[in-house]
Symmetry: C2
Subunit: 404 residues, 2 copies
């Protein structure tokens, strides 16, 4: 057997992530494009977003009510103007108040707002203030949220609905974002058949292609479909030769220790390929290298293994190549609703749900079972060498955190 | 002042959600369409996905190694065939073993697999088994994951990368999904200006339109841009008249108690509109009703209020109209990294981050501050009448849970 079948020390997940992030930083995707907000969803900001104005742009009313000088509140005041949101008010006449609505600019001279629930409108139209009034009350000062010149979003921020809304609030109609990474998706194996076709003996449907293509698109990648590679050296060479201009060759299955590893052989002919044996379950074998200068990541082919290694290693790698600072999912401590009696030598990521605040796990945690992930709300991380009793704290990673 | 300015009891968030979900169930979006997997991302399954085959379709090897009859393991065995994944094996010859690779079908007659690391290949090519072998070891039985005829995804499941991968694994090339809901997005207020234009006195940029349009698209909705409604009765009537064929009229701002509530007036002319005063902060006023038979939801106009009421009430409403069972986000209990000394009469949703496992909150929790949400990882829920000391458990809702 070859050396890679020995049992050397396994690579801890953290170390693998550190190495991948370092590789990502050495191969940043620098090109940018300028897009209208409506097209920038899911993309990564290439330049800081700097406020071009104060927010709010002028002091305004936080309530429907009456704007006045606080010092005048002791006597009933006539109403000298009515200010709706969107209107430019006149300066406040002495010894009067102004009817004002939420969001409308405070008139010059006024220093507070009383809400309409706390006044009495007299028969002659004057307004009596029923409660004590503080100067500044119910007024949102100019620049309270943001001052002109402040950075409100850092370069490297992923743009979702909230960030785009924030950019809109500052009047930005376009943003400069990193271009989409081009990711070639390769599946290996004569056993794979695309959905919709009929299965021959020994064949299975290719699920990883759909899983990863949809996921990569969510991450803002352009997916180049490399198809299912034939289990044949020459034809594998031809297929790879046609994928020269991508940013990442992402394969599933096949780049492993087997004698049938044609993809691995071809990649090694014109590049470098390291086989990492990760201390992770599911998902032990991961290959990493380059082919004709293009980075290569080879994920294990079993669906749950593909998913876990993509979520925890490949997704952060891709986001870091786009300059994202935050690339790892939120984790929460929750009580275990299961027992774990056999400590492993790899970190396990169990497909789990929260039930009554406790993490319960799918009965069949086999790496072949994609159904377990569709059932799950998240992954429970069980560290190497650990046993668990019910109620012990475990780390829970919501799947939503890796799917956005 | 009108009756709606009194202070009646506030509507608890749970009650508002229950009412909205009941309204959603009374107005389901039933029409379906059949889509290829690549186009079904983000959509909602209209029919259960039933397995048309066993998974795996046949017993197969979980390892690279040797397939054999467990009873034969005592003696070295010659290798009678080599089985790659994708190949149809011959039945196993008596007193032999088969070289086999991960995922390849087990030959008839074999009942277990030994991994290659645990064998010695003798000079004559025979294989000696070095460790005790259990019948069935390293074999994935036929149907272990899924049996033909089982429901693997329920109707009402939202289709993300994982669900689409699962459908692919069963050979499904197309799925039947609910049609996209058509949602008309209305902003109200003469003060609003679209990004890219210049601000006049008293004007602000419209951020909610971009926030909600991007978010609705993520939820699989078709967004009909109703634009910014003029603060004018007749023109508001004309605008609304042009939006007859939508599934929801979603407005922000303006449907409130103010005298300038033109949208509210027009909606009431040909429909019904209830003003709910929610026990929620940010986000107290929410309107709910119908206009010419079309459901109407009016969200408050302050950006953080819009966000919280969309995330916690409107999103579940829309998903339930599509038949989704699971519509509310996961919640986690985390220690507070802040103090809360003034108990409120409304449930507060504070924009928060996790730092060293504790929830810390954005300094300015004003409802006008969209920046607080862009900063945040999640919302901390503080219940009515509660005070908090550092370290007290609070409920944390990851934003990712409401953004997917």
């Amino acid at each position: 057997m070859s050396g890679c079948c020995d049992k050397p020390g396994l690579l801890p997940v953290e170390t693998a992530l550190e190495r991948l992030l370092a590789l990502a930083e050495s191969a940043p995707i620098r090109e940018t494009e300028r897009l209208p907000l409506a097209s920038a969803e899911g993309r990564v900001l290439a330049e800081p977003l700097v406020a071009g104005l104060d927010l709010p742009p002028w002091p305004n009313s936080a309530m429907d009510g009456y704007a006045l000088r606080q010092a005048d509140a002791g006597e009933p005041l006539p109403v000298s103007q009515c200010i709706f949101a969107g209107q430019a008010p006149e300066p406040l006449q002495a010894d009067t108040c102004a009817r004002i609505f939420t969001g409308a600019p405070l008139p010059a001279g006024a220093d507070c707002v009383e809400m309409q629930e706390n006044v009495e409108v007299l028969a002659d139209g004057r307004v009596r203030f029923l409660e004590a009034i503080r100067a500044g009350q119910h007024v949102r000062p100019q620049g309270q949220e943001t001052r002109r010149g402040e950075t409100v979003l850092d370069a490297g921020t992923r743009l979702g609905p909230i960030e785009l809304g924030l950019a809109a609030s500052l009047g930005a109609a376009e943003l400069t974002v990193r271009r989409r990474p081009r990711v070639a998706l390769l599946s290996t194996g004569d056993e794979l058949v695309e959905p919709g076709q009929s299965l021959g003996p020994g064949q299975i449907y290719n699920s990883n292609r759909r899983l990863l293509a949809s996921w990569l698109q969510r991450l803002g990648c352009e997916v180049v479909d490399g198809g299912i590679l034939p289990d044949d050296l020459d034809r594998t060479r031809v297929c790879l030769g046609e994928l020269a201009d991508v940013d990442l060759l992402l394969s599933t299955g096949g780049v492993s220790v087997g004698e049938a590893d044609f993809l691995g052989q071809v990649l090694r002919e014109a590049g470098e390929l390291a086989l990492w044996k990760l201390a992770i379950k599911p998902g032990k074998p991961l290959t990493c290298g380059h082919y004709r200068g293009v980075p290569v990541i080879g994920l294990p082919g079993n669906p749950a293994s593909t998913l876990v290694t993509f979520a925890l290693l490949t997704r952060p790698y891709l986001l870091r190549r786009l300059g994202c600072a935050e690339v790892t999912p939120l984790r929460f401590s929750v009580p275990a609703g299961f027992t774990w009696t056999k400590p492993g030598n790899r970190r396990e990521y169990l497909r789990a749900r929260l039930e009554n605040g406790r993490a319960v796990i799918y009965a069949n945690q086999s790496s072949g079972v994609l159904r377990s992930v569709a059932w799950a709300d998240g992954l429970v991380e069980v560290r190497e060498g650990t046993t668990l009793a019910e109620g012990d704290a475990v780390t829970f990673i919501p799947l939503s955190e890796v799917l956005v």
